[in-house]
Symmetry: C2
Subunit: 298 residues, 2 copies
DNA sequence: ACATATTGGTGTATGCGATACACAATTGAT
DNA sequence: ATCAATTGTGTATCGCATACACCAATATGT
């Protein structure tokens, strides 16, 4: 059951029994209001004892710890010591809560600087942001399973886009080119992170077994499946990759050694082998290509 | 309501009330069996009148047409003229059905060839596959909202990986490098497609309005939100991009004109502006970088 | 041909999750 | 002090995935 997860836009229950068809739009606006902290009108009733932020933070904690499955309105309310329905005084629906969660979870983008305070060269900036993006995804794996770039645009999300795009702008790209370039990088990282997270899951639950077993690090279900089905005659390239150990559990895989001579640049301290070999190599090629493009335009 | 969608791994209901904790693993194996068509043992009971494929195809049609929300076991069964529970004679659960749906929906990758039958240069092959990936996503937008690279690995999924990876291999990359490169490209496309799909949604439902209204093409909720919140002082780059018309409804946006001089290469016939400017530009830079990397290695 | 073990199709029941609705307690504005 | 808006709560509804038990169909062993 650990692998299972439900994702955004639940839509259970009765759902908009009322009049016309603009309910979704209204909720969307409500979501934006929540995200941008509008509607702080002085109230009249009893002082609220909860807040959207507290609810969202609790929800994030649950999602971080136990995944999106465990995230139900009842669960959140229980965690907070309130009734389920009390949450609906602060959030119009679960979907909107998820929107708020996302923006809070991404947080502020880093503002990469060299130790001496000067700003880094653009490539280093891009790499720093890329690494930061990766860390966010790893810290909150749940939102790899939900929408992210949808209409509900929060202040933090925009800040990341701004930071990433402007890093490319400093490399000499036009605004639009830079936007596309950053989207390209971010999308790749996101997808790689998703694959990483999902394949990490699937290890059989350790329930009845000997609890003193020395962490035998079983290969992931992903790896097992690949080893079984990626047969050489139908999938020659893939089978070679599998054989090379690409999908083996971390630490000193064959693939890692092949590249260990490469300079690490901005990723010197990066401890994730997956990131290093899945993202850094293509990213460097991409930045090379950008550089020569800009040079060619000069 | 149209924007809402539920995603993979539903997990509703009672869920594994029985003994140990290995139920998930068993189901996963069952899923792989389904995907790879194992267990065609001659049966004894009455001849099945349904089939996994028929169920999956019906499900795909529903998802394509009405989105993942509308996809319930009851709905599928109703469409087929059977009871809900009859489906469970063919599929262990909804999650497994989704796995099968994915693999059927992606289908076979193209085998790009020049008109004269010779094989294309590697760059053209990569671009052809990239475009094919995009089209698959556009044809089945629902699986942008669900997992995709998870442990359930189907034959078609592997075929795409093989095709994409080997295209890069022909460019001179090592197997592992090629795999990462293709993952990089595929992830970007997937993410861009997701953004595209989601921002395309959000147009107010056309219910009560005048049906003869001349398709006024309202800008997406995404665009509206950006125009509202991407203020120049906090998000200078983004606001410039928005002002440049990047998020305006298709056809002749300012961004498009800026690049219209560029040669189209493998994408000559591509009618999607979004793809052309969001994917093609970064992809070309990426391939440039790969080329110079390979050249530099001699 | 017959008995038997299987398997397909169905009806019913369970439990969960989201959320509408109405009521009670609370408190700022008049 | 009075009133209206607002919070917190209890209850009810609806959709959904799915367990379970039953009957009919059917290939296999006798």
């Amino acid at each position: 059951m650990a692998t299972e997860n439900t994702s955004r836009r639940p839509g259970g229950g009765t759902g908009d029994p009322g009049g016309g068809g603009s309910g979704a739009v209204v909720n969307q606006m409500r979501s934006l209001e929540l995200l941008w902290g509008e509607s702080p009108r002085p109230r009249r009733g009893p002082k609220p004892r909860l807040s959207i932020d507290r609810i969202a933070d609790t929800a994030i904690t649950i999602a971080d710890t136990e995944g999106l499955d465990a995230l139900s309105m009842q669960r959140i309310a229980g965690e907070l010591g309130y009734t389920t329905m009390s949450l609906y005084r602060y959030v119009p629906g679960k979907a909107q809560l998820l929107d708020v969660m996302i923006d809070r979870a991404v947080g502020q983008p880093p503002t990469p600087e060299a130790p001496d305070g000067t700003s880094l060269p653009w490539r280093a900036q891009v790499e720093a942001i890329a690494w930061a993006v990766w860390r966010v995804f790893m810290r909150h794996p749940w939102f790899l399973s939900m929408q992210f770039a949808g209409p509900p645009i929060g202040p933090n999300h925009l800040a990341w886009m701004e930071a990433g795009t402007s890093a490319f702008t400093r490399g000499g790209l036009s605004d639009v080119e830079a936007f596309c370039a950053f989207a390209f990088v971010q999308g790749s990282i996101r997808d790689w992170a998703r694959a990483e997270t999902e394949s990490a899951a699937g290890a059989p639950a350790t329930e009845g077994g000997s609890p003193t077993a020395p962490q035998e690090q079983p290969e992931s279900a992903y790896a097992t499946a690949l080893r079984t089905y990626a047969v050489p005659d139908r999938y020659p390239t893939l089978s070679r990759i599998v054989a090379a150990g690409m999908f083996d559990p971390p630490q000193r895989s064959g693939a890692a050694d092949a590249h260990s001579e490469e300079d690490r640049g901005a990723f010197a301290g990066v401890e994730s082998e997956s990131f290093r070999f899945g993202i850094v190599f293509p990213l460097r090629r991409f930045l090379d290509g950008i550089e020569s493009y800009v040079a060619g335009q000069g």
